[in-house]
Structures are given as C-alpha cells and as structure tokens.
C-alpha cells in the first residue's frame, strides 16, 4: 500500500471533518486522563503499601508536661495530683516532682513492655525527637512555632501482629499510670489509603463514562465521514481497491485523533500529579511521608492510556466500518 497516498487521504479526511475530530480528541483526552489518574492512584497505593509494609507501629503516648496541658485527663491527672502532693511534702517544685514521678512511670512501662509477649520491639521517642519528627512533616512556618514540650514523649511499639493484637494492647496499657493515649498508625494510613482508593474508583467511573462517549463519537464520526466520502469510496470499490485500502484511512483518522488525545491526556496527568503531589502535599512528599510518583509512573500511566486508547479506537472503527457502514 502506498503510504503517501494513505497519509494524504487521512490528512484530507481530518481537515474535512475538523470539528468532529477536535471533539474526538478532547473526549479521548479527558477519558484517557482519567484512565491515567486511576493507574497513578493504583501505583500510589502500591507505593504506600510497599513503603509501610512491616513498618507499621503503635504509639503509646506518655503524659505531656503539665504546663502545656490545661486540664490533664485520667492517668495524667492522677500523675499531676500525686506530684502536687509530693511537692507539698518535700518542698520542691511541682515540676520537679512531676518529672521524677513521670520518669518512674516511664521506666515501669518500659519494664512491662519488655516482658509483654505481644510486643516485639520498643523504642523511646523523647519530647525533643517527637518535635523534630513533626517539624519534618509540616510547612516551615508551623515548624518554627512548634516547641519542645508541645508534643508528648512516646514509646513506638512493634506488635507481633498489629491487626489482631492492637485491641489487646490498648486494653492492657490504656489505663496504666503515665499513659495519655495510644494510636495505631495503620488506622491513620488506612484512612489515607481509603481516600486514594476513592480517587481511583472515581477516576475509573468517569473514565468508563467518557470512554463510552468517545466510542459512540468514533462510531458517529466514521459514519459521517463515510457518508461524506461516499463518492470516493464507491469509485475505489469499483476500480478494485481492497477493503483495507478503503477502510484504512477512516481507521487511521480515528487512531490519529486518539493518539493526539492521548498525548494531551499525558500532559493532563503530568499537570495533575504536579498539582496534587508537588503543591498540595508538598512537604509530606518531600520528606517521604507520602510516596512521590516519578516521571516513570507518569509515562507508564499515560503510555498505557495512549496504547489502550489507540486499540479501542481501532477496534471501534473497524467494527463500525464492518457493521454499520457499507463502503
């Protein structure tokens, strides 16, 4: 088949059917952008799971220093009350007595944790370290206004099985002296993963709807184009052009439009990733709390979209030509 003849036929066809081609380009761009977004969300979830697999811990927070807390609750109130009593007896300051008691309770907890069979690892995070870590995840302005003592010290604990042992762990330690609370990182992470999963599902739904619109648009475009070129194709058939020769220009036109749409989608995906991960979640991404996506991820998502789009366009065009158009 003479490439130049086919190419010039395709170019003429696109020029003649410009508005429809533009509509097709735009709708495939949107559809494929959502396909890409779904793929990116999927990769992000995978990255998250990979990054945090086996690293999920439970935090056991100790009572914060009383000056920072207006009304200490439960265990911490008991601790403060005891410190005030001791201060009256000894004549030392409440803060000194509090720190002494706090230290004893902290050590008692350490001893209990070390003996606990469901606990496989314990590490102590001091107030200083807690603040240091926090500062890494927030914008500089917030980081500057956070002081040591704003955040409590804690034990970071690895449980043998975080899913089954967490409730047991809470029941055992929630009421211990010196404990202000516990958190489960996996539940925080789960919320985040649910959000990303929601984004993925939403993208898939939009992609499906817009893809259906694109398929119908391809079918319509081809029927209109075939009607416009009835003269030409009937002559082609009469002089013995093969079926491929008559159909190929129509198929190529839709494939070219889809390819351009796919490239635009790639741009949209790159822009969307830039906006969400590099602007909205700038700091946590920079510090590695939220896994970043690189150019490779964008190319994979966009490239998959482009290839899938082209295949879909070619198949739709082929089916339309065979089923609905008599060339």
């Amino acid at each position: 088949m003479r490439a130049s003849f086919v190419v010039s036929g395709v170019a003429t066809g696109i020029r003649r059917n410009m508005t429809m081609t533009i509509a097709l380009i735009l709708s495939t761009a949107i559809a494929l952008a959502f396909v890409g977004a779904a793929i990116l969300a999927d990769r992000e979830i995978a990255n998250f799971k990979h990054d945090y697999e086996g690293k999920l811990n439970v935090s056991l927070y100790l009572c914060p220093p009383p000056v920072q807390v207006l009304k200490p609750q439960r265990n911490c109130k008991a601790l403060l009350d005891q410190a005030e009593k001791n201060a009256k007896k000894s004549g030392k300051s409440v803060a000194t007595e509090w720190r002494k008691l706090w230290g004893q309770e902290k050590d008692a907890l350490a001893a209990q944790l070390a003996k606990d069979p469901i606990v496989t690892g314990v590490s102590f995070v001091s107030e200083q370290e807690a603040v240091d870590r926090y500062r890494k995840t927030v914008p500089p302005l917030v980081a500057r206004t956070t002081q040591v003592g704003d955040l409590p010290a804690s034990y970071t604990i690895t449980l043998q099985n975080i899913k089954t042992d967490y409730d047991k762990f809470v029941a055992r330690y929630q009421t211990q002296p010196g404990v202000s609370g516990t958190t489960n990182e996996s539940s925080v992470l789960k919320t985040l993963l649910n959000v990303i999963d929601g984004v993925r599902l939403f993208s898939i739904m939009i992609a499906v709807v817009v893809l259906i619109a694109s398929i119908l648009l391809i079918a319509n475009t081809i029927q209109v184009a075939a009607a416009q070129r009835k003269n030409e194709t009937s002559i082609m058939r009469l002089v013995g052009a093969s079926r491929w020769m008559t159909e190929l220009p129509f198929m190529l036109e839709t494939v070219v439009a889809t390819f351009v749409g796919g490239l635009i989608a790639l741009g949209l995906i790159a822009a969307g990733k830039q906006f969400v991960l590099n602007n909205v979640f700038e700091v946590p991404v920079q510090n590695g709390v939220i896994p970043n996506l690189d150019t490779n991820d964008i190319l994979v998502a966009g490239g998959f979209g482009v290839i899938a789009g082209i295949l879909l366009a070619a198949i739709t065009a082929f089916a339309t030509l065979r089923l609905y158009v008599r060339l």
């Binding site: 088949m1 003479r2 030409e232 082609m236 009469l238 002089v239 013995g240 052009a241 079926r243 020769m245």
Partner: protein, 229 residues
C-alpha cells in the same frame, strides 16, 4: 469471457424478478449493446457482472471465474479486470483530470512511476491531451465522460461495462464517445453497453441483446434498436 447461465435475480422487496432465466454468452473482444426499457434488467446484468449483486439462481462467469461463488476477498481482483463507465460520470470534483485517472491506479497500489507513465498515455487515447490540469467542473459533459472512460480503461481491463454512457450527452458528443468505445474495443477489450439510445445502436450495427421484464427477448448479431419500429 462472460457467461450467464439460467440466471435469475429477485430483489428482496421486488414482487417480480429483476431477471428471469437469463442465459447469455459473450466472447472475448465482442461489442454488445444491452437494450430494453427502464426496469427491464439491464443494470442488474451489469451489477451481477461486477458482483455488486449476487444471482438468486444460476451462474455468472466472468473471465473464467464463477462470480456468484467468489469469496469477498477476491472481489477486488475481479474488479481490477473490469472498467466501468456511468451516465453520471462519477468523477471526483476536487481532483483534476490527471488525479481522477491516477486515483484508479493509486488505490490498487500502482507505483508513482507507473502512474506518471500510464495516465498521460490514456489521456492521449481519449483525446484529452492538454487538459490534465482541469477540474471536472471546467469540462464539458463529453469531456467529463472521456475522463471517466480514461479512468475505466487506464488499468487495461479485459471488460468495459458502460451503463448509459451517452445518456446525458447530445447526439454529436455521443457519437464521439461511441467512437472512443469502439477504439477501445479494437484493442481487444470486451465492451458491454447498456443504452436507450436507438440512434447509436442503429448506427453501430453490433450485437444487440434486448431485455424485457427481466427476460432476454432478442439476441441478434449486427442488430438495430427496434425491429420494425
């Protein structure tokens, strides 16, 4: 070259058959007029030969191929051996004369070199030398039909089918087209021409096959349009 053997054709919507038990043999190199009133089945015969239609019954053989039993993928090859000319010329208005003729070669994958050589030759044959760059809209009816004939003949077909090629032309111009078809016939190409034009048929004195209501009612060598009319 052509054999129709007991051919009937019934269109799905038609109450009566378009062709009924038609048997005709046409040899290589013959010039045959297919005559008869509108609806007598002339066009149906041409459509069967081109395999635009399939016979309901009987066999249609063109160049030793059973057209009715031919698989779809072989149809283009059959059509490359058949040239077609119509009453309404069917030229592409946006292409010039050269491009209109070249189009027939391009779509069957002839090389640009072959096209550059063949198209001027055939334009010369039909008497359109010097008009290669004109568009159909700039030509007279007779000249447009010459372009159509050039396009039909450029691939040197074995068989040329002409469906009322002079239907839109005045008698003088028609005469020119007929001598052109005759010249093509002299190169060995079989010509089958459906027509209403009694003057032409009478003047040419070639084989005449007359159809009426889908039946062959006359098949006469060196015939005229209407016997005793």
């Amino acid at each position: 070259m052509i054999r129709l053997d007991d051919v009937s054709k019934v269109y799905p919507a038609g109450a009566r058959p378009a062709l009924e038990k038609v048997s005709v043999d046409i040899d290589k190199g013959e010039f045959v007029f297919l005559i008869g009133p509108s609806g007598s089945g002339k066009s149906t015969v041409l459509r069967l030969l081109l395999r635009e239609e399939l016979p309901t019954k009987g066999t249609v053989v063109v160049d030793n191929r059973n057209v009715g039993k031919m698989p779809n993928r072989k149809v283009p090859d059959l059509r490359r051996r058949i040239g077609c000319v119509f009453q309404d010329f069917r030229l592409l208005p946006k292409k010039n004369v050269f491009e209109n003729v070249a189009f027939a070669l391009e779509v069957i994958n002839k090389s640009p070199r072959v096209i550059r050589r063949t198209v001027p030759e055939v334009l010369d044959l039909v008497g359109l030398t010097g008009k290669a760059q004109r568009r159909p809209g700039e030509l007279s009816g007779g000249e447009q039909q010459r372009v159509a004939i050039a396009r039909a003949f450029v691939n040197r077909p074995l068989l040329l089918l002409a469906d009322e090629p002079t239907g839109n032309l005045d008698p003088d111009t028609s005469q020119g087209i007929m001598s052109l078809l005759e010249r093509i016939n002299r190169t060995g190409t079989t010509v089958v021409m459906a027509t209403h034009d009694n003057n032409i048929v009478d003047a040419m004195r070639r084989r005449v096959i007359e159809l009426d209501n889908g039946r062959v009612i006359r098949d006469q060598n060196r015939g005229v349009y209407g016997v005793g009319r």
